[in-house]
């Protein structure tokens, strides 16, 4: 399975892929990820490629991603060309506007912020299966807004063709987050998992 993880630098995108990577290592499943570090991170658009059980190179070939897991909806749409025809998009519902967009808006260079509805409409137009998750709400419910990424990892795990079982994924979550935050992250994972199961 090929997964694209994306969002805004600082949201914990690399950690999402590392949790899945850790679970693969526990199950002895071959995995290779292509990450981005450094300047490319700072509040900018971040994309991580991950190839579970297949693939030699760290980049998902064009049009070969099974899933796009997006912590920010604009980023899901930005990388939609990686998705297979009929692939799955799981996206957080909350937009983060870049200062660029804000400045262009207040200066009248654009007449409005891009809306969530426009993004969703375009994702649908591409033919993708779409799961919408309010990760911030679920993360806060779990006890920490920082766990939005783990909510989405839970959501990914709930997909019917996801190759790793829930228990192994939970072990990987526990092993990947700071000790003090384990409980909240386990709750966040469960809430994300449940949210997709209900949408299936």
């Amino acid at each position: 399975m090929n997964v694209i993880y994306c969002g805004v630098g600082g949201q914990g995108i690399v950690l999402m892929s590392n949790i899945v990577g850790e679970a693969c290592a526990r199950k002895g499943i071959h995995v290779v990820s292509g990450e981005l570090h450094g300047l490319s991170q700072r509040s900018g658009s971040v994309i991580v490629h991950q190839r579970i059980g297949e693939g030699l190179s760290p980049l998902i070939p064009y049009g070969e991603a099974d899933v796009i897991l997006a912590l920010e909806p604009m980023e899901a749409l930005r990388y939609i060309y990686f998705l297979k025809p009929g692939g799955t998009v799981i996206t957080n519902t909350r937009l983060i506007h870049h200062p660029y967009e804000t400045e262009n808006f207040v200066k009248g260079k654009i007449d409005k912020y891009i809306t969530y509805e426009e993004i969703v409409e375009n994702i649908r137009k591409s033919g993708a299966k779409l799961y919408e998750i309010d990760a911030l709400k679920l993360a806060e419910e779990a006890g920490t807004a920082l766990a939005q990424n783990v909510v989405l990892v839970g959501a990914l795990t709930a997909l019917p063709d996801f190759p790793i079982d829930k228990e192994t994924m939970l072990e990987a979550v526990k092993a990947s987050v700071p000790e003090k935050a384990v409980e909240a992250n386990v709750r966040a994972f469960e809430l994300g998992y449940k949210a997709v199961k209900e949408l299936l």
Partner: protein
């Protein structure tokens, strides 16, 4: 979770672990019994350096964050001269800084294995240019190894030390962003006893002026020696375990794939369903071993070289083929782009053209389809973090010096000051160049204060150079000495956030910390004073008014002024606070006070601030605010107020 820094020291030969390419290289260096590691961080090489720093004490390895790549190179080189295995690491442009020593010392060779890890950045994800280190390798006649996976990166590191020792020659281990930052399966090997017991290894330098003093009489024998060595190495690489021929033995077409391109080529061939082909997997793009070419070309009617960036392998193969009298078509850069990184798509397109096949999917059609849906997405370039002290410094500088001032800047997070609304970066070239360029602009427009005719006071062109703390020590020092000596008329603001932030919070002389304990702290203001700057002050950019006033004062001085704008990196600080479970205030807009003047957006531009079009007021995203309170200082109507606590 087992930490990476623990895993690289695991005494579990045969264990399969998940590691980043850079971590795997660190493990390889440890398995090779490295004694000394010195580097200046640079994306995408930094995780290797940081991993070595984290394990140094536990492995008995000396590790230092050197002040720049040249110094790091010399530190490791001298260790290798002393019979120790030593390594240095840098990003591609770091080799430009180290090039003087690299090019001059190559003829002297080494005693202990010496490996130069250089990480290239095709597509420039975090870099200022796209240079190909393999060209340097050819220039200097130094062999270069290029891995195709994290595991191979580890194995190649060990081999690189052996090769270097065997031929007493430098060896380059070249990665790219996609190998350094690929995470994959790595099988651990044996660790040497000294590493397991954390035994520090000390070396011995044997004097030999005919070898280590490059006066012309000695140096004249270097060039023939280097050429002789590289041909012997070329011969040796016929049996290098990272070079092999695979595929159909009697195929009529062949593909040569160096480094990571091998992975893309394999995937492309599978995607295209092409089996009737021979592949030369090349782990040593320079020098290309001729014996292997001889075997590979046997029976072939045409060849394609799929390599990223410069035609380094292509030129060697074509020269060899010409000299051998081979006249079959050899394709390369006519079918494979010379710019930006390799992808499976690029490999598919090149191979399809080469073989006259259709691509398995119609890329152009997909491009068009997705361009339509995704063109509505606004761009999201990287930007300074919320609470970043650089934003406050730039805001104060621009307010004090105005839009007509010229703003040379440098390499670091603060390069992002080029973006609106700050727009306080007019030039960025290379590490330390802000001061040299600032000085040159001052000479061009104001003249030197040493000249009888020069401009000052209201006549002078205001020039404010900005440079980070780590960059200041890296290459800012000689430029500052030059500006002061030659009586420049510029203001230099050192944006001192007390870490080398962009590459991952490494320490530098500004804090004095080292992986082995406390070194010595070198305050920037003391350096500036000692060099004779005409005005020196230290400010806290979290106090915007005070920063503004100090800059105003500095601008009135004729000569070289140095203002150190000191406040710890916000990302670093928030990380520390989260670890300690500390809270910070979150600022919110008091809608009764906000007049909708937009100064916070049009002049300050914190990513946590956005516009509420319904109420025509500014708003703060509470999940993004890190509580610096800069917005409250910038707002003329005191509309930003600290509310609840953030985490």
């Amino acid at each position: 979770m087992a930490k990476v820094t623990d895993i690289v020291l695991w005494d579990k030969p045969g264990e399969r672990v998940l590691l980043l390419g850079n971590h795997a290289i660190a493990r390889g260096a440890l398995e090779a019994n490295i004694a000394v590691f010195a580097a200046y961080p640079g994306t995408p090489s930094s995780e290797l350096t940081d991993t070595m720093a984290a394990v140094a004490k536990k492995a008995g390895v000396y590790m230092e964050y050197s002040t720049n790549e040249k110094v790091a190179f010399e530190t490791a080189l001298a260790a290798a001269w002393s019979g120790l295995r030593a390594m240095t690491a840098m990003k591609h442009v770091g080799l430009n800084v180290a090039a003087d020593t690299f090019m001059s010392a190559v003829g002297m060779g080494v005693e202990g294995g010496f490996v130069i890890m250089v990480a290239d950045d095709p597509s420039m994800w975090s870099s200022q240019n796209e240079q190909d280190t393999r060209v340097y390798a050819k220039f200097a006649n130094v062999p270069v190894l290029e891995p195709s996976s994290p595991h191979e990166a580890k194995e190649m590191t060990k081999y690189a030390f052996e090769l270097s020792e065997k031929f007493k020659h430098f060896v380059i281990l070249r990665t790219t962003t996609r190998t350094s930052h690929a995470r994959g399966d790595v099988v651990l090997g044996e660790l040497p006893e000294e590493i397991k017991k954390a035994e520090r290894k000390f070396g011995k330098f044997k004097k030999d002026p005919t070898r280590f003093v490059d006066v012309p009489a000695h140096a004249r024998k270097f060039h023939p020696l280097i050429l002789e060595k590289i041909e012997k190495i070329r011969e040796e690489l016929n049996n290098c375990p990272f070079n092999w021929i695979e595929g159909k033995e009697d195929a009529k077409v062949g593909i040569i794939a160096p480094g990571l391109s091998y992975a893309y080529v394999k995937e492309a061939l599978a995607w295209l369903g092409v089996e009737d082909v021979k592949v030369l997997k090349l782990g040593t793009p320079f020098p290309v071993p001729y014996g292997l070419l001889e075997k590979f070309f046997d029976g072939l009617e045409k060849v394609l070289i799929v390599e990223e960036l410069e035609p380094v392998v292509e030129e060697q193969v074509k020269t060899w083929a010409y000299d051998r009298g081979l006249r079959i078509p050899i394709h390369g850069k006519d079918l494979v782009p010379r710019v930006y990184e390799m992808t499976t798509r690029r490999a598919v397109e090149a191979i399809a053209k080469f073989l006259g096949l259709e691509t398995p999917i119609n890329f152009a059609e997909i491009d068009e389809k997705y361009e339509k849906v995704s063109q509505i997405v606004p761009p999201r370039p990287p930007s300074l973090c919320p609470a970043c002290p650089h934003r406050n410094s730039f805001f104060a500088i621009r307010k004090a010096a105005g839009p007509k001032a010229i703003y040379p800047s440098d390499i670091g997070c603060y390069t992002l000051g080029v973006l609106p609304p700050l727009r306080t970066v007019d030039t960025t070239v290379a590490m330390g160049a802000s001061i040299g360029i600032g000085h040159g602009l001052s000479i061009a427009m104001n003249g030197s204060l040493a000249e009888e005719e020069h401009k000052e006071g209201k006549e002078k062109q205001i020039i404010v150079a900005t440079i980070g703390d780590s960059t200041f020590y890296h290459t800012g020092l000689p430029a500052l000495a030059n500006a002061i000596y030659n009586r420049s008329n510029v203001l230099i603001v050192v944006l001192d956030n007390l870490v080398t932030a962009m590459t991952g919070d490494q320490p530098n002389p500004g804090t004095g910390q080292t992986p082995h304990g406390m070194g010595k702290r070198i305050p920037i203001e003391d350096v500036a004073k000692a060099m004779g700057a005409d005005f020196v002050a230290v400010v806290d950019p979290y106090d915007i008014k005070a920063t503004y006033e100090t800059i105003k004062k500095a601008l009135e001085v004729e000569g070289v002024s140095v203002v150190v704008s000191r406040q710890v990196c916000a990302l670093y600080k928030v990380g520390q606070m989260r670890r300690r479970r500390m809270k910070w205030p979150i600022y919110q807009v008091n809608e009764d006070k906000c007049t909708g003047c937009k100064i916070c957006i049009n002049a300050y531009g914190c990513p946590a601030i956005y516009w509420d079009p319904e109420n025509k007021k500014a708003k703060v995203d509470p999940t993004m605010c890190w509580g610096c309170g800069g917005c409250a200082q910038v707002c003329p109507f005191d509309a930003f107020e600290p509310m609840k606590e953030g985490e």
